[in-house]
Amino acid sequence: MGISSEKLREATAEALVRAGSSFTPGLRAAYARALEVETDERSLWAMRQFLENADVAERRTLPLCDDTGIPHVLLEVGELAEFGGAHLGAITEGIAEGLKRLPGRPMAVLGDEVQRIEQSQGLSLHSEDVIPPAFSVKRIPGDRVRITVLLLGGGPEIRAKTYRIFHKHRLETVVDEVAQWGIEAVRELGCTPAVVAVGLGRTHFEATSLMLEAMARGDLERQTPLEQQITEKINAGGSGPLGLGGRVSVLATLVNIGPQRASGVRIASVRTCCGIEPRRATVEVG
């Protein structure tokens, strides 16, 4: 039996609402670790506010943040699944339905190309008009389809950076550069403590895709030595939650390293996610 479009639509809508209104267990665990090591009064206040807000959002199914973000979809299709264009349409409809239910912030900019850049024709009044960019698609074993919905807020987009690093054939060079970008970003971000998502690839597109996958799949509870190293270097900067000072500017780091080009250059995409991110939820249909 083929995959039901109706099930895909409903599962996607449910995933979007869950992503926008609850913390993942991993994010809660990261906050619990942070509260154990933090001593600064203002820093503790800020992190407790983040957690209390998440409790209320989850209990009442309210948006975690009024910037409900731009929905992104990571689609993993089983190699034995019968999957086609109609299914893509159902997922797109599920995103729109989820935005209506959350509700998403009505922030789609109206008009033609120039008018959209200049924001001269106002905004749509409809939450569901915030359309997702092209889906990321991967093949997985089996006959099921896995949909991960991510909601990407605007603050981290101001600070995110995709750029080249001359690595000098040393991992340490890449780590130092990424940590330096992170230190600069958390000083400016405002909504810290952050989770730093890092993609390392051959092109800007690939690095950004890897970074998105790090947000979707990264494990906030089991950090690799490399991820811990980046977190510690950024935390040594001392910005703290909201920039108010303290030991925890960064809760965790999620690194995703892809194929590399034979070259002295690596392309790194670094996004300092705000203190309610990654907002993600995954559902499987099949």
């Binding site: 910037d67 106002g122 009044l125 000083r187 000072g245």
Partner: protein, 175 residues
């Protein structure tokens, strides 16, 4: 540390005892606006503001959109928002509420007008019950980016910049 409770319009004497790092709870009528509308408010005359019932003396401007999704601070260092801080302080705005670090020029301008910058967390769900009423005060065509008048009850915040001091610069020097 117990929060200092402030009610709008904020009289000068209520500002005098505040310091960087203080916890605040803000109640009363405040304004909400961000990138699209704040330059328009700066460009309006006192008479134009008064015609819309907007009184900036002793006021609070929360850097946020207002929508069905709720409210929450946006990044205050976005150019159009940060450029509004000096002229609006000169016209009586006492507290600019948002998030993120501000430039040295803004720190000086706040100091010159005895205004402060406070930050709050993006606690949209938590703030839901503390926003008692909302109405559009100006430029309804901007939708969620219009200027809104909000009646609020105990919005929590921390003083980040006041008296020429910035909590962000203090952390940067320590780091």
């Amino acid at each position: 540390m117990r929060p200092v409770c402030l009610e709008t319009p904020i009289p000068p004497e209520a500002m005098a005892g505040l310091h960087v790092g203080d916890f605040l709870e803000i109640s009363g009528v405040i304004y909400a606006g961000r990138d699209a509308v704040l330059p328009k408010i700066v460009a309006m005359s006192d008479a134009e503001l008064a015609a819309r019932g907007i009184d900036l003396e002793g006021s609070v401007i929360f850097h946020t959109a207002v929508s069905v999704a709720g409210v929450g601070p946006t990044t205050s260092s976005k150019i159009e928002i940060e450029e509004s801080i000096a002229p609006l302080s000169a016209r009586g705005v006492r507290i600019h509420l948002g998030k993120g670090r501000l430039k040295a020029d803004s720190i000086r301008a706040l100091h010159a007008h005895a205004s402060l910058f406070a930050v709050t967390t993006p606690s949209t769900a938590l703030l839901t019950d503390r926003i008692l009423a909302t109405e559009i005060a100006a430029f309804p065509e901007l939708g969620m980016e219009a200027l809104y008048r909000l009646r609020v009850d105990r919005i929590p915040a921390v003083v980040a910049i006041f008296h020429g001091e910035s909590i962000f610069e203090q952390q940067a020097q320590r780091g």
